[in-house]
C-alpha cells in the first residue's frame, strides 16, 4: 500500500485500505459519540432497521465507484444462482464495449480495464489463474490491489460517461457543480466523470446504475433529520435483474457500503 494516487492527499487517514473488511455499524457510531448527536441518532436508526454492518472505503474521490463495484461483485458472489448472476453481468459488460467505442473511446485505452473487471466476475463461476474461484477474501485482496481496483473504477467511469453521452434524457441534468451552469455532455464527462478522483453526484450515479443494470439504494446520513431518521434514495433502473440491489451509505463527501451483516463470512474450505 505504498503507492499513492491522485486524491490520496484528500484523505485524513491515508492508511485506510481501499476497501475494508465488513465491520459492525457500532464502530462508525463510536466515531460520532463525542461529536454530532444527529449522526449518532441516524446511525442508531440504521441499526434498528437491520443495517448492522458497514464496509469502509478510502476517501479518495473514487469511493462511489469503488463501493459500487465491490458491492456489485459481492452480490454476484452471494447470488442464489451464481451462474445466472455472473453470466448476466458478463453479458451486460460484453455489450458495453461497442458502446464505449461508439462514443469515441479507443479500445486500447479500455481493454485492460475491461479484462480486469470481467476477469474478476468470471472468477465467480470458473477458477482464475490461481486455480480458485472467487471468495470474499480474494475479492477483498483484488480490490486492495491498486492496479486491479483502479482499473475497475476507471471502467465504471467510462461506462458512466458512455451512458451520459448517449442518453438524451440525461442532458438536461448536466450542471457544473460549482458554477451551476449547463454543460454539454462531452465537457461534463471530461471534467467530472472520466477524470481520476472526481466524485460522483446524482447524475453519474443514475447513469452508472442504468449502464450496469443494477439497482442502487443510497442511505443519506446528514445529521440533520429532527427525528433521526435516514432517507434512502433509490436508483431503480434495472427492473429485470437477477441481482440484489447495492446498498450504499452516504456521509457528506463520502460513500461506504451498507450491509445487513456485521462481519464477512469465513469462506468455506476449498477442496484440494
Amino acid at each position: 500500500m505504498s503507492q499513492s494516487f491522485p486524491g490520496d492527499a484528500l484523505d485524513d487517514t491515508p492508511s485506510r485500505p481501499l476497501i475494508a473488511p465488513l465491520a459492525p455499524m457500532l464502530t462508525l457510531r463510536e466515531e460520532y459519540v463525542n461529536g454530532s448527536q444527529g449522526f449518532v441518532k441516524q446511525i442508531d436508526y440504521l441499526i434498528s432497521e437491520g443495517w448492522i454492518g458497514v464496509r469502509r472505503t478510502r476517501g479518495d474521490g473514487d469511493c462511489f465507484y469503488r463501493s459500487l463495484a465491490f458491492a456489485y461483485i459481492e452480490n454476484i458472489l452471494n447470488a442464489s444462482d451464481t451462474m445466472l448472476a455472473a453470466t448476466g453481468a458478463l453479458s451486460v459488460l460484453e455489450a458495453s464495449q461497442p458502446q464505449l467505442e461508439q462514443v469515441g473511446f479507443q479500445r486500447l485505452v479500455f481493454e485492460d480495464f475491461y479484462d480486469c473487471l470481467a476477469g474478476l466476475i468470471n472468477q465467480v463461476i470458473s477458477p482464475g489463474p490461481d486455480g480458485q474461484v472467487l471468495n470474499i477474501n480474494t475479492l477483498l485482496e483484488a480490490f486492495n490491489n491498486p492496479e486491479v481496483s483502479n482499473s475497475i473504477v476507471v471502467y465504471l467511469r467510462l461506462l458512466t460517461s458512455a451512458e451520459i453521452k448517449t442518453n438524451p434524457e440525461i442532458a438536461a441534468f448536466l450542471i457544473h457543480p460549482e458554477t451551476g451552469e449547463q454543460m454539454d455532455p462531452e465537457s461534463f464527462c471530461n471534467n467530472f466523470v472520466e477524470a481520476v478522483g472526481k466524485e460522483a453526484d446524482h447524475v453519474q450515479m443514475n447513469a452508472l446504475a442504468t449502464a450496469l443494470k443494477v439497482n442502487v439504494n443510497v442511505a443519506y446520513l446528514d445529521g440533520h433529520d429532527p427525528q433521526g431518521k435516514v432517507s434512502f434514495v433509490p436508483f431503480q433502473n434495472a427492473p429485470f435483474t437477477f441481482l440484489e440491489p447495492v446498498n450504499l451509505l452516504y456521509r457528506p463527501g463520502h460513500y461506504d457500503i451498507l450491509d445487513r451483516r456485521d462481519a464477512d463470512p469465513i469462506p468455506p474450505l476449498l477442496v484440494q
Binding site: 503507492q3 491522485p6 473511446f105 479507443q106 486500447l108 485492460d112 480495464f113 471530461n190 481520476v196
Partner: protein, 220 residues
C-alpha cells in the same frame, strides 16, 4: 507483462500506425518510460511550420496518474515556460483521465498552441506581452518558432543559417527604437533588453511607463 508497459507499448504502436496526425513518439535510450514526442505547429498560428519536441516521462502509476510532459523545443506562449518548457494544462494535472493517451495528450498540446489562456499563465511575462499587444506577441512567437523549431519566420525565408546570431531584440519582442532610445543613454544593450522585457515595455503599455522608472531599473 507489467500493465503499465503493456499499455505504453500499445500506445506507441498505435501512434506509429497513424500517419495522418504527424505525431511521433520515440524512445530515449531504449527506455519505454522516457520518451520524446513531436508534432507540427498548428496552421494559422505563429507556430506554423515549426516542429515541436516534448519530453515525456511515464510515472509509476500510469495510466492512473498523469503523464509528465514538458517542451524540449523553446516556445513563446503564455501557458508554457519560456525558460523551462513547463506546461500549464489541466489534463496534465487534476483533469487527467486514464482514457487520455500519449498521442491524444500531444494533440492537446498542439491545440494549446492554437488557443492560449493568458489568464491562467505559466509564463507571466509572456502572458503580459500577449495581453498588451497580440500582434507584437505573435511576431515574437513566430520569431522563436523560426529560431528554435525550424519555422519559416516573418518573411518566409527561414533562419538565415545555423551560425547567424539570434536577434535579441526580436527574441524579447521589443521595439528597436525603444531599445535604441535607452542604449543612447549609455546603458548596455543586453541590460536594456532585459529591463524592457521585464517591464513589458510594449504597445499601449509604453505610455504607462515613465522613462525615469526605466532608468531607475537600469541603474539597479
Amino acid at each position: 507483462m507489467d500493465a503499465r508497459l503493456r499499455r505504453v507499448n500499445k500506445e506507441i504502436a498505435d501512434c506509429k500506425s497513424d500517419k495522418s496526425s504527424r505525431v511521433t513518439i520515440d524512445l530515449v535510450d531504449d527506455n519505454p518510460f522516457h520518451l520524446i514526442g513531436a508534432f507540427d505547429g498548428p496552421e494559422d498560428t505563429p507556430y506554423e511550420g515549426g516542429r515541436f519536441q516534448v519530453d515525456i516521462v511515464i510515472p509509476d502509476n500510469y495510466p492512473f496518474q498523469p503523464v509528465k510532459m514538458k517542451f524540449i523545443t523553446k516556445v513563446y506562449h503564455p501557458n508554457i515556460s519560456s525558460a523551462s518548457g513547463a506546461i500549464c494544462l489541466d489534463i496534465l494535472k487534476d483533469a487527467w483521465s486514464p482514457v487520455l493517451t500519449l498521442k491524444s495528450t500531444l494533440i492537446s498540446l498542439q491545440s494549446l498552441l492554437c488557443s492560449p489562456e493568458p489568464r491562467d499563465p505559466q509564463d507571466a511575462e509572456v502572458a503580459k506581452h500577449y495581453m498588451t499587444s497580440k500582434s507584437s506577441f505573435e511576431k515574437t512567437a513566430r520569431y522563436w518558432t523560426m529560431i528554435y523549431a525550424g519555422g519559416p519566420g516573418e518573411d518566409g525565408a527561414g533562419r538565415p543559417g545555423k551560425d547567424a546570431a539570434k536577434d535579441e531584440i526580436a527574441m524579447a519582442g521589443l521595439d528597436r527604437a525603444h531599445v535604441a532610445q535607452f542604449e543612447a543613454l549609455g546603458f548596455d544593450r543586453s541590460k536594456v533588453i532585459d529591463v524592457l522585457r521585464r517591464m513589458n515595455y510594449r504597445g499601449a503599455n509604453v505610455a504607462n511607463i515613465n522613462d525615469d522608472r526605466v532608468v531607475e531599473e537600469l541603474l539597479k
